[in-house]
Amino acid sequence: MQIAIDTGGTFTDCVYLSNGRLEVLKLPSTPANPAEAVLQAVSQISAGEPAEVRHGTTVATNALLERKGARAAFVTTTGFEDTLDIGRQARPKLYDLFFAKDPPLAPAELRFGIKERISSDGVVLQAIEEPDLRRLIESIRAQRPESIAISLLFAFANPIHERALAAALRPLGVPISLSHEILPEFREYERGSTVLINAYLAPKMQSYLDHLDRRLQSQASTLNVMQSSGGIIPASIAAREPVRTILSGPAGGVVGALAVARAAGFPRILAFDMGGTSTDVALVETATGLRATSEFQIMGMPVAVPVLDIHTVGAGGGSIASFDRGGALKVGPESAGADPGPLCYGRGEMPTVTDANLLLGRLDPHRFLGGAMHLDLERAREYFARTKGPLATVEQFAEGILRLADSRMEKALRRISVEQGHDPRDFVLLSFGGAGPLHACALARALSIPKVLVPNHPGALSAYGILVSDTVRDYSRTVMLSPDDASIARCVAELARNRDGDVALSSLDVRYRGQGYELNVPWTPDFVESFHRLHQQRYGYADRARPVEVVNVRVRMVSINEPVEPPRETLRPGDGSHALVRSTPAGRLYSREKLHAGDRFSGPALIVEYSAATFVPEGAVVSLDEFANLVIEV
């Protein structure tokens, strides 16, 4: 059996199939050692049966965010040891005389140069000298690194020197990350950063996954890991290339959203995952499937391996509201988090988005987390009255907070849709995460999105996505060729030779000769024309007379996972009254668990379930489709 387990900040969500039925299990997370909750879940679910465990992990993400990775050495061509710290030599904030730069993952004493040089076309201009190599090994050894990253100039054009260094450094007995293996693409800073992040994470990820894998093997189970690109890899590869897992969980959310959209028959969706401190959004088209970017950044550091095109903003249920000196209200990015939490949790001192939702009747104080937690409405009201600034009423203040939080999320949604040349009116807003369904209808209206979809178990969609993911390996190489060059086909064949998948999806990064950014198009006979069309769509013009060049070749090897058929119910027309909890002047309150496929009613209404609440405003109509998704026409 397959079990998908997604580690979150508060809960570890598990989704699995039992006798063809999709089951959900939520356990408290064990942050000190996330493996404990995973192992507990597996033993509880599989009861000794062999299982294929698919894991969405935050080990890599947290090690980076908390800067608790390994002591990693960075080796590059002599003269370029500082490239990694100089970055693109720009400052992060334009008008801040006190701007700071995060220290690099490898400080100066852990950055090493080796005299060597390879040209852009792969010719060895300067070979590595034996004495230099010996000196390098000694100086690295003296620093006692726990991991080593090697990224030489133009190593992707000819890896001979990186291989020689790796062979010479292997006796040090620490993991070695090589740039021509992890990311054989040009732009030395972005590549170096990616390889160093990998080295920084490798020891921690290795010991975490090894431990988990050993324990699971003793139960005859296997371990796989979700990548940021939305595909599964075996734990052994994830341990070697942990940089591929930094958005493991959120990627599961996008895959889950895609699966729900396909089943429900919506070809184009905007996935909207709102949690306590941040919101992740992604544009998904069922025809094209998952879209990855190579320009992702984390804490200002580039990560150039494929990461699903997920845009994150610092706005969530815990985001704090305040007035600035110019008199404007602002919300976030500071968050009250889970500790002290919003005012209504009893200890926070600052108004938050969750409090605003509560004050406007969009949360039921007695049914939060299935009634496990009571929300203090009066406390929130008192604080709001004190901090409402020039606004007349507490309600106006609360509405203002929601509108502003919505506008930040709207901006995020706009960024991935309108700004990429997509019209939101062609999309369905698929909303999940604890807080998403509360805001979805307002956002849909602001962006003229006609429909909102709230799937079953909106809190466990990431785990569901991990369950249904395919196994995926990504290969790439910078080639810099003209489009009619026969070497392109040769390179595609070479990259596909790895045969670690059933299907090879080949694509090319193409640009007009002389441009600095590429567009990715499928490798087809008329890929040049596809490029012109895409360029027109993205940047407002195309020039068919201008020469085009192929920058990178990409091959994605995919093994399709057995499809999971979501349970289907027969439609039974109804008005939802059987699930009505009570009516208030603000609207009716329904229990989601009691609604069935075919129910249809109009807002204002609040639909509560264990891990989320959905707000349906006046004028919107909600109906349950055969998968018991809430489909709301706003």
Binding site: I86, R88, A90, R91, L94, L153, G389, L404, S407, Y517
Partner: protein, 528 residues
């Protein structure tokens, strides 16, 4: 009437997104390394009278000067629907010739008599003709610096003016690249116009315009609340450019700042600054205005919108015919990149007396402009490479300066070594920090950078840099930083020069660090 604070925030974010989106479209579709890799461009949204409402987070030196481009276009042309104005004349809305600006009007409805908004973007083109490849060389007159374009319609009623385009392209060294960049700029303008039209369609013109006004007022209110807190006294500061590249004399820039907290206003007076110079270091008024705008913006909280409202309480005196307000036909290529930095240095020096705990020591103070032009044997075409090289940032009253980073009036990116070697007949030999080049102090200044380039073909090198004579200053007892230097095959080069170099030559640049802040802490003597 108080504006609705919520709606205001929403519009602020909408206008800002439009400016940002134009910038992204421009960067991704452009051909010049200056634009695509280095991001030497700006995009902005203006109201019907040409006040800037929102700018992308791009180049500070363009901040105050973009509105003057729009102003010039409006004064000279009647921009109708589907028109796009082009200009680069520093004496008519521009800054220096490589910066080409496009301005496009936004009409609320087809029959509207006047534009409701304008969008504009400016990009630094790698070559606009003139005496030297890259158009940044030492000249004595603007006529030698490249093609000079007054405000003209590049597009009229949706039709590209091919004659004008042909004239421009005939006067530059890399016409194909220029055409690509201008097309990218046009594409970005259209995207901006489309987004504003959508905003107007959604909220109605009246509401959008009211909120644009309110944004200007809000910036003004933020600025005034800051000015209220300044001491009521006069503060002066001065600094020097090494020379103008032609005459050996230092060039003085001085400013007297007179805050008027009672009226929540402030005056900047540059009287006493040197007369305009023979070389191309002259700054036009727009540059000086931008430098003042930048410094004031740095004093405000991060959420302040850099809109035209910030400058309402500000009076600026820059006597015509001086280095800070040059008159034609003075050459100006370096005013934008070098003199602008020195104006900021003088301003910050003056402010450090008023706000000693909020002002850092001098930063590298030069953009180290390097241009290399020639013929690329690999492609059979000419090339023009332009890059600015970062230096050290000045130490702050509470922290050391950052190393190897662009400061103040620029924030352009470097060209990746691997991208550069694909694109040009060069080999980069070194790119690293220049250790110990930051000034010492309680907090040390940041280190500068070393960049070594080997030429693989004969080429002409133009260097436009400063801080070879006057070092970036330390403050409150901190020491000055190391000055910059440059050498070709080991032979020292002047800070500003044009030289012909042979294939195989090695050019080495060492950029200045940042000044130190405060007296160095001396370890107490250990008791014996």
């Amino acid at each position: 009437m108080m504006p609705d604070p919520i709606e205001l925030a929403i519009f602020e974010s909408s206008f800002h997104s439009i400016a940002e989106e134009m910038g992204i479209a421009l960067r991704r579709a452009a051909f010049s390394p200056n634009i695509k890799e280095r991001r030497d461009y700006s995009s902005a949204v203006f109201d019907a009278t040409g006040n800037v409402i929102a700018m992308g987070d791009d180049m500070p030196v363009h901040l105050g000067s973009m509105p003057m481009s729009v102003r010039a276009a409006l004064d000279k042309l009647r921009l109708a629907r589907g028109d796009v104005a082009i200009l680069n004349d520093p004496y008519d809305g521009g800054t220096h010739l490589p910066d080409i600006t496009l301005v496009m009007p936004v009409f609320a409805e087809p029959a509207a008599p006047a534009a409701a908004f304008y969008v504009a973007n400016r990009a630094h083109h790698a070559d606009v003709g003139g005496a030297y490849p890259g158009s940044m060389g030492l000249c004595r007159e603007i006529f030698q610096e490249g093609i000079r374009i007054p405000p003209l319609k590049l597009v009229e009623a949706g039709e590209l003016n091919r004659c004008l385009l042909a004239l421009i392209l005939n006067n530059v060294r890399t016409p194909r690249e220029r055409e690509g960049d201008l097309t990218a700029q046009l594409g970005a303008c259209r995207i901006g116009v489309e987004r504003l039209a959508q905003l107007i369609a959604k909220y109605g013109l009246a509401r959008v315009a009211t909120n644009a006004d309110a944004l200007l007022d809000r910036s003004e209110a933020l600025m005034r609340s800051e000015l209220e807190r300044l001491p009521a006294a006069e503060f002066s500061g001065e600094d020097y450019l090494d020379n103008d590249g032609i005459n050996p004399d230092p060039v003085r820039i001085c400013v007297r700042i007179a805050p008027d907290p009672a009226h929540r206003a402030i005056q900047f007076d540059f009287t006493g600054s040197a007369p305009q110079v023979d070389g191309s270091l002259n700054a036009v008024y727009a540059i000086t205005y931008s430098a003042v705008f930048y410094v004031l913006r740095c004093l405000l909280p991060p959420e302040a919108v850099p809109s035209a409202g910030l400058m309402r309480p500000v009076k600026l005196i820059a006597p015509p015919g001086t280095i800070v307000n040059a008159r034609p036909p003075a050459a100006v290529a370096g005013g934008n990149v070098e003199t602008s930095q020195r104006i900021v240095d003088a301003l910050l020096r003056a402010l450090s007396k008023a706000l000693p705990d909020r002002i850092p020591a001098g930063s590298s103070g030069t953009m180290n402009n390097l241009t290399i032009g020639g013929f690329d044997p690999r492609t059979g075409e000419s090339f023009a490479y332009y890059e600015t090289i970062a230096g050290g940032a000045g130490a702050r009253p509470n922290s050391p300066g950052v190393s190897g980073v662009h400061t103040h009036m620029t924030n352009s990116l470097n060209t990746p070594v691997e991208a550069l070697e694909y694109a040009y007949p060069f080999r980069v030999r070194q790119y690293s920090y220049r250790r110990h080049s930051g000034g010492k102090g309680r907090f040390d200044g940041g280190d500068g950078i070393v960049r070594e380039i080997e030429l693989l073909t004969d080429a002409q090198i133009t260097l436009l840099s400063d801080r070879r004579v006057f070092a970036p200053y330390g403050l409150m007892g901190g020491s000055d930083a190391a000055k910059g230097r440059a050498a070709l095959d080991g032979v020292e080069l002047p800070g500003k020069c044009n030289v012909q170099a042979r294939s195989g030559s090695l050019l080495r640049l060492e950029t200045p660090g940042g000044g130190g802040w405060g007296l160095p802490v001396v370890d107490p003597p250990t008791e014996s």
